[in-house]
């Protein structure tokens, strides 16, 4: 069987993810809100005796290197060994879509255009003569509708004939000065293929492409640029002019009915300077209400089921092996019954919000807040995802344009409790100490998070990148799409975290059986005494860093199930703060290392967790001091 590779490229909201859905069936891949798909996701499809691997790229407006998404796509086009590209164009925004098409054609790659939203465009009175555009661009164009599967067969047919795709397609001819500059730079390029594309990228000052030059720099740059100082801008406008020309001349716009649509009414309210933030805030309150309520129901059911399982298991005996395995099983059942319902529900709702187009509006409203603490508006998405699980959220910081901003945003996960930390606050502090006590822990996280935020903003004098984004049209989300997206987001949790829960449970079982716990507890007595906690609480704190969901069960195993008599309310609160403020667990640390490097990741983890422990200790001292005075 022959294998070929195709890239899917499109602007945000061009319908890329639904096309992929239609192309490869059930194995869906994420869509992109200005969002978390920064990695390339893949899916395979058999056409006859051809196996096509589709790689989904993040939605971008053009091949530039402003953001991580663009870099990812640019590199995918250029460096991966691909057989062709499918560009998804939005028929309602042809001009803009063509801009990217023209840019990709410069790279000498076989291209097929999938023209989406044709029916929607027709409703707006836009009639595109795509046959003519096909002739000019010398590239096949297939009108599609992923929802009704229109054109999907034809598109697959084109892909099957990939070796017949024209390689010599339309190229923009720039003005003389630019063409001369391209020629001069091409001579300096040490790469046999795609010289023109590389030269243009270099002229547009894309530093990633300087490596194709000798000594990584342009020779006689003054000589090249002096005749045409605004060269990068003129390249962009020439492309746009050509795109606009083609779009305008082969599009007929007949009726332009001016109807006040529902969408505008919703936007008027949602993007009102007063109502917008209120509605956004209320929406998230409602969302958490739903998650807590339904999550609680599912959790109760699952916990009951797993308890039955464990008691069934323990009837086989109480030997050492069964105790050890029993601990492992407890870890597993906690993972499934506590974290799973909340995380999955959370991602489900978020997926729904992003697919309707609401999320972009929320970003605009929350940017007013994030800006105040020195974070760009886009950081709202990773921060929000952090409420689910810090691990995928840390990866989602890639939406931000620089590593610096990504790291800055990621450091805030110390104050954003993930679902496992929420489980500690609600399930331990709230359960044994009352709702108010849980609330105090939250407030502490918020206050010290804000202190950190303003301190950091002052110290680094950061100005976040201003927001510039398109508001997508409201669309009815596809349930299938939302479900599969949620699954992809929590795959990490299922495959990595749950096995770890089991392993750490077993390790604890071994420690418990062999009486090794004492030797671990004693060297850390200074930490617990600083926190005013019993020495044994170091076990849940330490295991908590291995896996946050172990904190609760470990606390119960080390202090016994009568928590209220083992810990005072103040101690419960201190324990709550010390175990939730910081980079939560070793898995999150691993993701930090992957994203930001070993040194930065270790430093931020130590600093943040120290910050949490110091604060918890100070608060404990202050409150006991004040309490003793009266």
């Amino acid at each position: 069987m022959k294998k070929v590779k195709f890239l899917l490229i499109g602007q945000p909201n061009a319908g890329k993810s639904s096309l992929l859905n239609a192309l490869i069936g059930s194995k869906v891949i994420m869509s992109n809100y200005p969002g978390t798909t920064v990695e390339i996701t893949k899916g395979k499809k058999k056409i006859g005796n051809l196996e096509v691997e589709f790689s989904d790229t993040p939605g971008i407006y053009s091949i530039s290197d402003r953001s991580e998404e663009e870099k990812v796509t640019e590199m995918a086009i250029f460096e991966k060994d691909i057989d062709g590209v499918v560009i998804i164009c939005d028929a309602c925004a042809l001009e803009r879509s063509l801009y990217m098409v023209l840019q990709i054609l410069e790279a000498d790659i076989p291209v097929i255009i999938a023209l989406n939203f044709v029916e929607e465009a027709e409703k707006k009175g836009i009639d595109i003569d795509y046959k003519k555009i096909e002739d000019i661009l010398k590239v096949p164009i297939v009108p599609i509708n992923p929802l009704t599967k229109r054109g999907i067969g034809k598109l697959l047919g084109q892909i099957a004939k990939y070796d017949e795709l024209p390689t010599q397609s339309f190229k923009i001819e720039y003005d003389d000065h630019i063409e001369t500059a391209i020629r001069k730079i091409s001579k300096q390029i040490d790469n046999p293929r795609q010289k023109r594309f590389i030269a243009l990228r270099i002229l547009e000052e894309d530093k990633d492409f300087y490596k194709y030059l000798e000594d990584n720099k342009i020779k006689n740059i003054d000589d090249i640029i002096s005749v045409h100082p605004k060269i990068a801008k003129d390249i962009a406008v020439t492309r746009y002019g050509t795109a606009a020309y083609i779009a305008k001349n082969f599009t007929k716009i007949t009726s332009l009915k001016k109807e006040k649509r529902l969408e505008d009414k919703i936007d008027k309210l949602l993007l009102n300077s007063i109502w917008g933030p209120i509605l956004t805030f209320s929406f998230f309150i409602l969302m958490f209400g739903i998650i807590l309520y339904i999550g609680n129901l599912i959790q109760g059911y699952l916990l009951g089921a797993s308890e039955n399982l464990i008691s069934y298991f323990s009837q086989f005996g109480h030997s050492i092996i069964y105790t050890v395995l029993g601990q492992g099983l407890t870890g597993l059942s906690i993972g499934i019954s506590i974290a799973l319902p909340y995380i999955f529900l959370f991602y489900l709702l978020i997926g729904f919000v992003e697919d309707t187009g609401l999320l972009t509006r929320f970003i605009i409203n929350t940017e007013r807040l994030t800006k105040k603490i020195g974070l760009p508006g886009k950081s709202f998405i990773p921060l929000l995802l952090g409420i689910g699980c810090t691990v995928p959220a840390a990866r989602a910081t890639r939406v931000l344009s620089s590593k610096k901003e990504q790291f800055r945003a990621a450091s805030f996960f110390a104050f954003i409790p993930c679902s496992s930390r929420i489980a500690i606050i609600m399930g331990i502090v709230g359960f044994y100490g009352g709702a108010m006590l849980a609330f105090y822990v939250y407030i502490t996280l918020v206050i010290f998070g804000l202190i950190y935020a303003f301190g950091l903003k002052k110290a680094t004098n950061a100005t976040p990148e201003p927001l510039l984004l398109e508001l997508p049209v409201y669309r009815k989300p596809s349930i299938k799409n939302v479900f599969s997206k949620s699954w992809i987001r929590m795959k990490d949790f299922v495959y990595v975290v749950i096995p770890l829960l089991m392993i750490f449970g077993i390790i604890y079982g071994i420690l418990d059986v062999t009486n090794l716990t004492e030797s671990i507890v004693n060297p850390f007595a200074f930490v617990t005494s600083w926190l005013g906690l019993p020495n044994k609480t170091i076990i849940p704190l330490m295991f908590g860093f291995l896996q946050k969901d172990l904190t609760g069960p470990m606390l119960l195993s080390s202090l016994g199930s009568d928590i209220p008599s083992a810990l005072t309310s103040l101690q419960l609160y201190t324990f709550g703060v010390a175990s939730t403020l910081g980079i939560p667990c070793i898995i999150a640390l691993g993701m930090f290392i992957k994203e930001f490097g070993f040194k930065k990741a270790i430093t931020i983890t130590i600093l943040m967790n120290l910050y949490g422990i110091i604060i918890a200790g100070i608060i404990w001292r202050i409150i006991s001091f004040v309490g003793n005075m009266f």
Binding site: Y61, R96, G241, I364
Partner: protein, 198 residues
Amino acid sequence: MKEDSEILRIVKEDILRILIEKNGSVLKDYIADEIKVSKSFMDKAITQLEKEGLLEYDKNNIKLSNSGKFKALDILEKHLKIEQYFKGIKSQKQAHKISHIIEHYISEEVIDNLKKISTFKNKGDSLIKFKNGEAFITNMKSDDKLFERYVSMGIIPGEKIKIITELPNGLIFKIKGKKIFIAREYAEQIEVLNYEKS
């Protein structure tokens, strides 16, 4: 002063091109007829070209200087090239017209808009000061990469935009039927001209 304005650049280039097409010397009225911009605006373009040493101006007669000839030839050559490039798909006359547009890189409608703007007294203001209604973009200050981002989103000088809402952190406007949010910092750098006041 908006020396760098897109309109002025286009008008200046057009004057040079007309001059070279007419063998380097032409009456001012002829130019005014050809490019259809306001008189004061054309005067400004001519004064600037004169200052740059590209043309000589005597009463009603305009003449290309030597360095002006050089530059104008360049523009004409570019123009002819584009014309040729589209000849295959359009009639001769249309190709000529198209090349006028693409040599300034923008669409026909946009060029018309830009020229119309030049007849207005008001010379435009930053987008942020413009609260509601329709306007033309006249100038965009940005670095190259942001400029490309703008252009790829369809935000380009001469294009008509409609402000929808003003928020404390930015503006929402409609361009080519799409809604876009732009932060204050960026909006301040974009200059627009009122559409209705004309």
